[in-house]
Symmetry: C2
Subunit: 420 residues, 2 copies
Amino acid sequence: MFDYNGSFQSAVAVLKREHRYRVFVDLERKVGQFPHALWNSPTGKRDVVVWCSNDYLGMGQHPKLIDAMCAAARTMGTGAGGTRNISGTNRALVELEAELADLHSKEAALVFTSGYVSNHTGIATIAKLLPDCLILSDALNHNSMIEGVRAADCSKQIWRHNDLKHLEELLCRAAAGRPKLIVFESVYSMDGDVAPLEAICDLAERHGAMTYLDEVHAVGMYGRRGGGIAERDGVMARIDVIEGTLAKAFGTLGGYIAGRSAIVDAVRSHAPGFIFTTALPPSIAAAATASIAHLKTSGAERAAQRAAVAATKAALREAGLPVLDTETHIVPVMVGDPAKCKQASDLLLDRHGIYIQPINYPTVPRGTERLRITPTPAHDVRLVRQLADAMVSVWHDLGIALGRYHQPGDQRAQTVAAGG
Amino acid sequence: MFDYNGSFQSAVAVLKREHRYRVFVDLERKVGQFPHALWNSPTGKRDVVVWCSNDYLGMGQHPKLIDAMCAAARTMGTGAGGTRNISGTNRALVELEAELADLHSKEAALVFTSGYVSNHTGIATIAKLLPDCLILSDALNHNSMIEGVRAADCSKQIWRHNDLKHLEELLCRAAAGRPKLIVFESVYSMDGDVAPLEAICDLAERHGAMTYLDEVHAVGMYGRRGGGIAERDGVMARIDVIEGTLAKAFGTLGGYIAGRSAIVDAVRSHAPGFIFTTALPPSIAAAATASIAHLKTSGAERAAQRAAVAATKAALREAGLPVLDTETHIVPVMVGDPAKCKQASDLLLDRHGIYIQPINYPTVPRGTERLRITPTPAHDVRLVRQLADAMVSVWHDLGIALGRYHQPGDQRAQTVAAGG
């Protein structure tokens, strides 16, 4: 008889050997005190400062969101009670979809239980509805997009990350009348770099391709109303499908797509990951709507985030830490070794009360292991100073090289999947 | 240039022609008044009685859940702020997983953003970790399991629904030492029938197969502590992986698996649909834990549900409506025609203020279209009477045959996917 338990144990043992075994940090956030949180460590509760949250603007502790969530729970209950089609469509969700369509100036929007699901089932469904579709996918796309492309079960081509020439070559090679779907992100989560949206739109229009843009690391944070990089760059109307999340800058849970009614209705009617799953609870939807509405008119959070990001980059660079250059709110500090990356993270947590999760393969390519820092409006100058000092001390303790980071040539293009 | 919009429009037009186009009913539940809800109809707000909710026990409006949700939101915020690995593991989620492991008397449990995702990524990951795995899948498994089997990308065989002889045949044909994964449900959602769990466990043990059981339509409702049919039948310890949902009887959102630590750790470490997605917010986790804890000790909701189900079945049968025989809380009333099924649902809503979504292909096989009724503890005798009268009146108006339903031979086995 087959040894099932042995199989599962050895699958985990491999990860341990390669320093890729993930140990979750059990956190208790305290509303009003974020980025401070309680860490339920093996030896008891300890205060830590979280420096790697994707609650990028700290909206998860905003009174408007908390009030909206509680009010909805008290009036409409804690669950949706069904799929969207079978009793699960609730008022709060309908309002959220209207808010999202407005945010992206699109005819319609559709909410999913997560950004992961929206990419997975969204990309697969769109591609399947187009006869003989060719998908053109950026090499550094997130795992949810890769899985969506895979599930589409059509032909695909991978273009080198943000390489317009390569994308153009592939577009030129495809037949003119063939449906083509270009899938890409605006802000890439691990390197914090930004896609040339306008040039991609130019290429798409010239070659009759459809565009599907993942803005999960941008919505709420870029553009006048938080519509993302596409809003910032003035190309929102030229993107066919904008995909976003409610679980990062918007501080709640869920994902969505926005686009023309015909597209959204087709996905709504055909996507298994949308049809066969329980709808988001009204409490989550109401909190998300409050967040989006707030960030449409308030620029204060975006300005404070930009200031904290600039201060952090400056302090770390000045301290001689190998910061990867980015134009976004994502600040990767490179280590380049999985064991040291994990040790650095452990030391920061144990000795300095600073929580930054190590990012190892397969989330980033081997040799580019890093600490990924995301300063929020709540990270003040004192915390930035503390961070820089602690990191320098840890770098010394572990004998990791200080000094400017030199990006290896092609390595980034090997990334398997980002974000987990 | 390819006409994208035309493609999407015609994909939807097909559904309209076949009476399969889904129109969502925009509901506003009122805590304390469920199953009453406000329907935001095209002509304004109307009071309706919901008869098709999967909030099977009405826990979504239970004060304990609402209080737990609000307390967690007020203390820990509205979002998790990251994936489980990157700052998203929160105390409430850790407690929820301990509660779930205890519910099913398993070493460990793992929470996903939905039951759909737990099946999809759970089944695929488990099968991929077993060399040359053979999946044996029940013919009526839910779409999330079908997609999980597909994503596993290994050999699979479909056994006729609940047919032990067929399952045994397939097991006998497979090599003795080969890993085999039997995936099946306990309560099937559209017909409300129950799998012979004990006999399946016997077969699995005899043939050295692993068992993966979906209990989403059973947890909270069957077994002494709400552990599901496996608890009721005394076979919980013989099932390797129990998958469940927090979004039906438990009244919130999310899904999970429970099993031995080695299995759960392997899935935790390898499943893309778990790794690369934001964790559930503490508010959802806290409400779910409160619900499970309550239903572990309180049998009142289960007893009241059984009474409402018995009363509903009796009243509909007495009225001559074609009720499908079931031993569970799911009460299908057969129509057998997609257009009439939709019309019956529309008439019930418009004229009688009764909301029951039509269930058409592909959720059920063509020719077995139905109204699927799920009585909860909140559906009292008066509402049951009202329902029976309204349905008889609609059946007359539409000229649908009354009388006992005779199940067609093989047709159920053609089901493509259930539950949406």
